[in-house]
């Protein structure tokens, strides 16, 4: 595996495997994540995989830069892609409704389709989890079909409710916690993503697959969902 190894900080190296976001990256990112964890062992402070990179933060009190660099090079030389079928597949029930998904209209109008069609098409794909970030348990997923791609809101909301499901560009995600955010919100899920993350075992992991299921308000409430409208309009 060819890779760039760049300086990110005094004790941090950025391993760059790819230049573009592709689902096929994930087999290599996952394999590199496992192999680098093994190679660094206790000298590893943190390892942050993302779409195309892995950030390696090592303990510079016990490991010299040259040695860290060598471990990365040797790890990547022998790397084989992971079996992507090993990732989990999740079905996430979502209540799509304008009260909790105020951008159903914006996204459907841009795509020139009915809201019902938008919902059906958002649910009609197994999305790949590319990376975790932004908040504990927040998974960046994609790729949303080109026709539904919608840029972020010009002015982010000060508060997006927990469980909100949104689109930005060709990515889709679920907010585990109430937080500021600029994604186009389509609906809400009752799946407790934050609780999983808080225990150190996030529901969504890089390489996992996610399928959204459209459910009724009654089903959403039965699952413990909060029907409080997302009132604040940006």
């Amino acid at each position: 595996m060819r890779a760039g190894i760049e300086t990110a900080a005094m004790d941090v190296l950025m391993v760059r495997l790819f230049d573009t976001i592709e689902e096929s990256n994930m087999a290599w990112i996952i394999a590199a994540d496992r192999a680098l964890r093994d190679a660094f062992g206790k000298t590893l402070i943190d390892l942050v995989p993302s779409y195309t990179t892995l950030m390696v933060h090592y303990d510079c009190r016990v490991l010299a830069h040259g040695e860290a660099h060598r471990r990365i090079r040797e790890t990547l030389e022998n790397l084989q892609p992971a079996d992507t079928q090993a990732g989990q597949r999740h079905e996430i029930p979502v209540w799509y409704d304008e009260s909790v998904g105020p951008e159903l209209q914006r996204v459907s109008e841009r795509a020139g389709i009915a809201i019902e069609t938008l919902i059906r098409r958002h649910c009609n794909h197994d999305y790949c989890v590319f990376a975790l970030g932004f908040a504990p348990g927040y998974g960046f997923m994609g790729l949303v079909e080109e026709a539904l791609a919608t840029p972020r809101l010009e002015t982010p909301r000060r508060k997006v409710a927990a469980g909100s499901v949104g689109i930005a560009g060709r990515q889709t995600a679920i907010y585990p916690l109430p937080s500021p955010g600029g994604w186009n919100i389509l609906g809400r899920t009752a799946v407790p993503l934050f609780e999983h993350a808080r225990r150190g075992d996030p529901l969504l992991k890089p390489g996992d697959r996610v399928r959204f299921l459209s459910i009724s308000r009654d089903e959403f409430e039965a699952q413990g969902g909060d029907t409080t409208p997302l009132e604040e309009r940006p």
Binding site: V12, P49, Y51, G133, A135, P136, F194
Partner: protein
Amino acid sequence: MNGTGAEGLRVIQAGPLAMIEDGGRVGVRHLGVTQSGGADWVSLYWANWLLGNALDSAALEIVVGGGLTLEAERTTRLALVGADLDARLDDAPLVPGMSFVVREGQRLVFRQPRDGLRSYLAFPGGLEAPVVLGSRSTTPRERLGGLHGDGQPLKAGDRLSWSGEPVGGRRIPAGLLPPMPRPGCRLALVPGAQIAEFTGASLYAAFNSDWRVDDRADRMGVRLRGPRLQCNLESMISEGIPLGAVQVPPDGQPIVLLNDRQTIGGYPRLGALTPLAAARLAQCLPGHEVRLVAVSRERAVADYRWSMQNFSDSGPGSR
């Protein structure tokens, strides 16, 4: 959590922001969980060192002060290191940089910043609080850590407790405790991979201008105001962000990312402040002027190792 019901310190008035912080969350950033921990970790470590604690023990990070009032329910020894927040023990001024005895019924008040921004109050053995993802550090945005484990800062009525025994008589050897940053203080930066994407004029400006700490400064990041920096990259695919990363969004005004930063992000970066420089920046109030100084990775690591060595070399019967 506490279980012993031992008396400790009662929060009479909370002030604008006081939170439990320790060495931070390690090994969880791949979950999207931020590093957290004491933003001026050097002061946090010295505060713990004064009591003979593990250096990364949970202490109180007091920002600004603003009337934070704590009342002792038993006599104990505490240590205060970091900013001078015009602290008083009853009516007596309390100078940071040393340990001191608080007697039952006495009140500690932190009034306002006179030098620096954050002060660290350490407790024998470290503060008791639930360990969440390996740390007691408070991260309000993530609802993690702190006294109740839910990310809330201290509030009136909270009670702080600890169960260790302090080591008395420790003094920080002269010259080892860094002073609070002066105007124009130099912040060491290790250049990063995108540095070549900035224009020559911008690179000159980055390292030869006074940068002013903006009002938008907190534990997530500190925005610097100065000449507009231009980068040939507008944005990148999001990737991991190290502590101290100096990212430059399209408006050309750098943001230095600190302990509560997001774990990944997509703005190009000049590089990253060293951990020592990040700790200094965390003590700068809005309006403070700083300079960025490029240093080699080797120099930065040597300085870091030296500063860590000080903790183990110092003091009576060093630990």
